[in-house]
Subunit: 188 residues, 2 copies
Amino acid sequence: MTRKEQKEERKKAILMTALNLFVKRGYHETKISDIAEAVPMSTGLMFHYFESKEELLLELVKMGAAYTGVVSKLDDIPPQIFFTEFLRKLFEYSAKETWVFNMFVLMGQARRAGMPEEARKLALSMSTVDQTAVIIKKGQEAGIFREGDAHLLSICFWASVQGIMEEMALDDKMKAPDPEWIVAMLKA
Amino acid sequence: MTRKEQKEERKKAILMTALNLFVKRGYHETKISDIAEAVPMSTGLMFHYFESKEELLLELVKMGAAYTGVVSKLDDIPPQIFFTEFLRKLFEYSAKETWVFNMFVLMGQARRAGMPEEARKLALSMSTVDQTAVIIKKGQEAGIFREGDAHLLSICFWASVQGIMEEMALDDKMKAPDPEWIVAMLKA
DNA sequence: CATTTTATTGAATTTTTATTCAACAAATTT
DNA sequence: AAATTTGTTGAATAAAAATTCAATAAAATG
């Protein structure tokens, strides 16, 4: 393994540790030294890998943004299965790959209050709300989704998912809900 | 107006200003000097009214906890109208009394990550999840609510509401959703 | 109206945490 | 193996924000 690859591995380890702590305790409540201790490495060495704490956060948000982009390629799936299936996969995946779960939660948190402005802007630019609003409209035309402002429905759907995921992030023992419960919000 | 009353008024003004900023930007992203500037008053004077920033937050959370207690007295209302009615009132009230809205959001945020430990403990001790789980069970027995873990349904219901409220906190223009959308999560 | 108490300010201080740095170790290259 | 580059540490420094404080104004009290 080359020197460069090693460095990348180490960087990834830091990123994953930070992701965990940010999601569990919040960005501001997590000290650089907390991350360093958990990796583990010295506090000073953290700055050999990342310019700053904010830069570290930004890299995470960029990774998340890259993944979020994937969702937008799923708009040819029939509306009636899209949401249920998406949630089923999200929950299933989250159960084994903590990474996916944490990243989902972090992106949502970044879009909201309590993080540096730049992280917010980045996360905000990657919103899936518009994409899914289109899918919801299709479902409405097909008569399978309830009437009402499709964009607002889309916002509420993701807000609910975010709320539930954040709850799960706090309580390891909490089971994932049945996707149908959440999709019921959309169903006619 | 007595000196004491004046002081109480001023304290309240600070609390409301802080509540607004905490909800909009997050606790850690809000500086004491930001609150002072918005009240307005000098930064130093803030400490004439509150021991510390955390103490200020704690007072807010305590106020919220007092209100949260009210919900637990509503458990004799029939399940089929309890949730819809609660949300209707919450959204209606939130529209005119920003206070109620902000307080609801703050309590949820406090229960989650990103705030001092003590605030978390306080907010956590006041959870309504158990109360509403009982109401959901009743609804299930009456056949109007879907089958499944009532406690988990209760968690998901509140998590969804929290998620949606936080979204509204960020976007002033966002309309409140139809309560039925959210209650659909529970309905059989 | 003199005295005491309370309100207020802005600058100085403390605290906390991020960030830099000098020194050294380990690995890589020549 | 000498020289160079990269990794590592822990202590020193800097930056940001909370908190204190001395000084003064305003209000209440006697």
